[in-house]
Amino acid sequence: MQRASQGQDAIFRGTAGGDVSLKDEVFKDKKSVRGTPNASLPAFILGEELADLADHDPRIAVLTADLAVANRTNDFKRRHPDRFFNLGIAEKNMMTVAAGMASCGLVTYAATFASFCAILGAEQIKTDCAYPGMKVRLIGHHSGMSMGFYGTSHHALEDLAITRTIADLTVVCATDANHLRAILRESVDHPGAMYIRLGRGRDPEVYPTVPKAFRFGKAITLRPGKDVTLICCGSVVRASLDAAEKLAKHGIDARVIDMHTIKPLDTAAVRKAARETGAILTVEEHNITGGLGSAVAEVLVEEDRIPFMRHGVPDEFVPVGPPAALYAHYKLDADGIAKKAKALLKS
């Protein structure tokens, strides 16, 4: 039995890629871990980046719901204590408070686990943030099944489906640390409310530097290709790029598009990919119902009918397991994605 008292530090201890055997998991750590090992987590830059932005912008305020350690908003608190508000384990209140603050001219960033952000607080996002057009940036971190063995209550495989049906809400997925920096910088002056979906802070690197070309609603083509396009987002972008390399060895030239903004969707990029590569595989760490795959399918069905397949988590609750094992189980690692692409091209 896993002892509950190990707390949230354990969230960060699984490896982000590669196979994890049971043996490795149990015996990897030789000493106890107390608290969260900050030094080993360079990827989660949320608090520091927001603090940097706040140095030059008095409008920025940050809220969380008893997760300042897990989401690094404590880094913001350290530098801007007067602009940081912990609302306790009361997520709905936090989101509406953020909206109330935004109505007074502030730009508020409210962060909590994606499951308790976009799913628990869906109505607050709709009614208090998006509908009045408040500049609230809802940050749902540890999205998808990245909380692994914490189980279904802590997974968010429905959040894109929920948020992308809310009018006037921008929905964007951060790919890695530098990509998140770009999103946060662009978000300050972006109109209306926004849902920013993050992984667990150990997402493998895709962007070695902050992508200067980043714009909301404008997909980034990471790899050219003519045989098939992998349209992906968030945590599985790295695996999709790796899959493209594997496909290349089999003579398949795969294009890879980081479709970071789920709403508004870059429909032009989808149609261009359909025309130029003739087949599309969407890849996402989300239920295949309602997320990126569905958004792309809507474009394809209405515009360009080509071989198309959605790849993600099937419509089921995920079994318990370490994150890396779950990615392999659902073929969301490079090998799995490459296999799916080959199957699509054979279909």
Partner: protein
Amino acid sequence: MKSAAKKGSAVKKSIAARGHNVSSAMLADRAMFVRLETLRLARICGAGHYSSTFSAAELFAALYYAHLNIDPKDPDWPDRDRFILSKGHAAIGLYPILADLGYYPMSELDTFTRLGSHFGDHPNMKHIPGIDFSSGSLGHGLSVGVGMALAGRMQQRDYRVYCMLGDGELAEGQIWEAAMAASHYKLQGLIAIIDRNQLCIDGHTEEVMRVEPLEQRFRSFGWEVQRIDGHDFEAILPALGQLKPAGTGKPQALICDTIKGRGVKRMELSLQWHVANLAGEDYDDAEAEIRAGLRPLAKRGKKRGKN
């Protein structure tokens, strides 16, 4: 629409200096105006939240004509007091006041609820000057108020934030999340005005979901509490006058005992008029009754569970 009209009524001109020399008789006239306009607007769409609005008519009048620090010529004035109508279904009574004060022409209300109107059953801040926050989903307003009060502190503004809550919506958990946060952050400038009109849709609150003892509950959450008769200006005005300014003390609750449907006898503490339509002779009778002014109540509702 967002451009405030400058046309105001004679009444508005006479109360231009709010907070000064506003008589109870004048305020009673404005409460009557709220009730009459509610009748008129409900007739446009054939359905209105009469009784929830009538219970709040005196509170609306006292706040808007005698208390709030606002400027109808500058609806977005950053230092204004905020008012959040958490029980958004009473907006039908608030719209006429905002028109009367000059936020927009009274004629705009003729479109009430019709296709494309700015004025729906629940208020939309994006379209209506003077509405500080959109509402309609119960249980959210106090959280909005916490946010506005925190923002005021961050921006070093000393406005106060008033949030009108229904008693039925106190069953929403988010209210208590906000109540906890308000006292935690010592938001003295946040004022909850509770329209304790005794009924929710399905019955008396104490039968559907008990909210009493309200004073104890708010006090135990760290609030200052006053409890008054919410239809009596001689009680409302002193209570508002006693409210402390924005600062770092306890948030303040004003529990206002009211009668749902007050002013039209058939509606008083009746479950039939939460959403309803008055037509024909019924409409005329109700109008005549309202114009006659509030009659004294022999005894108050039996379900009030004071503590």
